[in-house]
């Protein structure tokens, strides 16, 4: 089965000469949630807009479900829903009318039942006759999602969907995304909240300076690139790390009360047992210990810094 979206050698150079996308190639699998991460100005929105037809690529090819977005734009665009980063709204239109408009625009006949279902799933049903300008920012964001879902897309682009929304609403949106995944909708998500990607994504792509620098299964990425650390709280401050422990590359905290050991869970032996034995042999006692694992955010920051 071919991928849901296939991007090959996509470049975009704006009129002023800025190269927003540099030979980007990427495949999005059918039914997955793909998180596209990157710092501001990395090219995330340009990439999304190029696939959706808002930006004209300078070169390269984009296929949606095997169909070329230029030659078969009617077919491909019908399959795509887009929730933009900004909050543009038809200020004087009711939520119902604006969603009905979106459905028609994408070639679908009226379906009050479907719109009702979408609005209810986004807790917008009681606002259906409210005009957009009377809605809060969070509600407007929901309306944009409702509009994008009104024509039953197979692919949904969510460009920073939870930017500026409160915790409760963010949780609601995550639930909506989970429901979409269950229905088989392919979701491409850009976000600044790495926690969001960590929670939702199946795979993660990192883009920086217009180049895709990494595409990986989220769990694998966190396993391979994520560091795990053992932190030991010492019973007495330590002046220096004994030389017989040098192989463990321990770090002593500034207040000399904590020892940190970084290890790799992928290795056959983590070295923890040996370390604890050696500590006892060196007469170093600890009162507490805990372990921590790098978050996706730590990994992302590391990656972007390394490639910068």
């Amino acid at each position: 089965m071919h991928p849901m979206i296939s991007i090959n050698g996509l470049t975009k150079t704006y009129a002023e000469g800025f190269e927003a996308l540099k030979n980007v190639s990427l495949e999005i699998r059918r039914g997955e949630i793909f998180a596209l991460l990157g710092p501001n100005g990395a090219g995330k929105t340009t990439l999304i807009n190029a696939v959706c037809g808002i930006v004209t690529p300078t070169s390269g090819e984009v296929l949606v479900d095997g169909h070329d977005i230029s030659r078969e734009y009617r077919l491909t665009r019908q399959m795509i829903g887009l929730v933009p980063q900004e909050l543009p709204s038809e200020s004087f239109e009711t939520v119902w009318n604006t969603c009905r408009f979106s459905r028609g625009l994408f070639g679908k006949p009226p379906s009050p039942d479907h719109l009702e279902k979408v609005l209810k799933s986004l807790s917008l049903w009681d606002k259906k006759n409210t005009i957009s300008m009377q809605l809060s920012g969070g509600m407007k964001r929901r309306v944009l999602i409702a509009k994008a879902l009104s024509h039953e897309p197979e692919v949904l682009f969510l460009d920073e969907p939870t930017a500026g929304v409160d915790v409760e609403l963010r949780q609601d949106m995550w639930n909506v995304v989970e429901e979409l995944r269950e229905k088989g909708v392919t979701v491409i998500l850009t976000t600044h909240y790495i926690e969001e990607a960590e929670k939702l994504a199946d795979r993660v792509g990192v883009i920086n300076h217009g180049e895709i620098i990494l595409v990986e299964d989220k769990k694998k990425l966190m396993r391979e690139l994520g560091k795990k650390q053992l932190v030991l709280s010492l019973q007495a401050p330590l002046d220096a790390i004994p030389s017989q422990l040098a192989a463990y590359q321990l770090e002593l905290s500034e207040d000399r009360n904590e020892l940190t050991y970084t290890y790799d869970t992928m290795r056959e032996s983590t070295g923890i047992t040996a370390l604890l034995n050696e500590l006892r042999a060196a007469d170093i006692h600890f009162s507490d210990l805990f372990t921590s694992q790098s978050s996706l955010e730590d990994i992302f920051v590391d990656l972007v810094r390394k490639k910068a």
């Binding site: 037809g53 004209t56 009617r74 543009p88 979106s102 028609g104 006949p109």
Partner: protein, 253 residues
């Protein structure tokens, strides 16, 4: 063709007109009615007949043209400029529509509004002056052609405009003077010969002349030429819109 999209855009735009009925319909009808009162009744009674038609009746076709030209430009330019201004244009650009559906939806709705305004003004004028329509079918043709052509022109203007000032500059500084100097209130045969010649370079002269001919069979230029000029303008506008959508001029980056 994406018929659902055409219906959606058309219905959406018509709903906007009914939501702003005072601005969309009542205002242009009121201002045109004032022209009838001032020029038709108050001043017109002191002006002799023009080509056998009372002055009040003579200005009716010109005033309808004046109104529908300005309203067509205003309606369609606003219809496309507003989504650009608010950012909602992204939806149109990412939708499975070609320029044909966009034109049918936006220009169709704007032209419908203009026709409604034209008909209301015609009905209103009949309360003030005697009106005869010698060639009703030709009148309807000219009305439709003018509405569609100027709506297309307004649509181009709305895409071209990068600010509210630009949106109003063309109607106010170009269209309005051309309309007033295009024979709305007079026959160009009343002008000195040199000004008659200069007037022939004003495309609005052909529109008003042809439209007036359909009422009173009086024309400053031949009806065929009027019809040809209007059709030519329509075709040029269509090509420009097609080019805009093909290249993404001021729409797609």
């Amino acid at each position: 063709m994406n018929i659902q999209a055409v219906k959606a855009i058309y219905r959406y735009e018509m709903a906007r007109m009914f939501r702003t009925v005072v601005q969309s319909i009542i205002a242009p009808v009121l201002s045109t009615s004032l022209y009838f009162v001032i020029f038709g009744s108050a001043i017109g009674s002191r002006i002799t007949e023009i080509d056998g038609v009372s002055y009040g009746s003579f200005i009716v076709p010109g005033l309808i043209m004046l109104s529908i030209m300005t309203e067509s430009i205003s309606n369609s330019s606003f219809a496309i400029y507003f989504p650009k201004f608010t950012g909602t244009i992204f939806e149109l650009l990412s939708a499975p529509v070609s320029f044909v559906e966009v034109i049918l939806g936006y220009v169709g709705a704007a032209a419908t509004k203009s026709v409604i305004i034209g008909v209301i003004i015609l009905a209103t004028a009949s309360f003030f002056v005697d009106i005869e329509i010698a060639h009703p079918f030709v009148m309807v043709w000219f009305l439709l052609l003018t509405c569609v052509s100027f709506c297309l022109f307004g649509f181009i203007l709305g895409i071209w405009a990068t600010g509210w000032e630009k949106l109003t500059i063309v109607p106010v500084l170009i269209i309005m003077p051309l309309t007033f100097l295009g024979g709305t209130f007079y026959s160009i045969s009343m002008l000195p010969p040199v000004w008659q010649t200069i007037s022939l370079f004003n495309p609005v002269v052909y529109l008003i002349s042809g439209f007036r001919w359909s009422f009173y069979e009086n024309a400053d230029v031949s009806v065929g030429l009027s019809l040809g000029t209007t059709l030519g303008f329509l075709i040029i506008c269509l090509f420009i819109v097609r080019w805009i959508f093909k290249t993404g001029y001021r729409l797609r980056s």
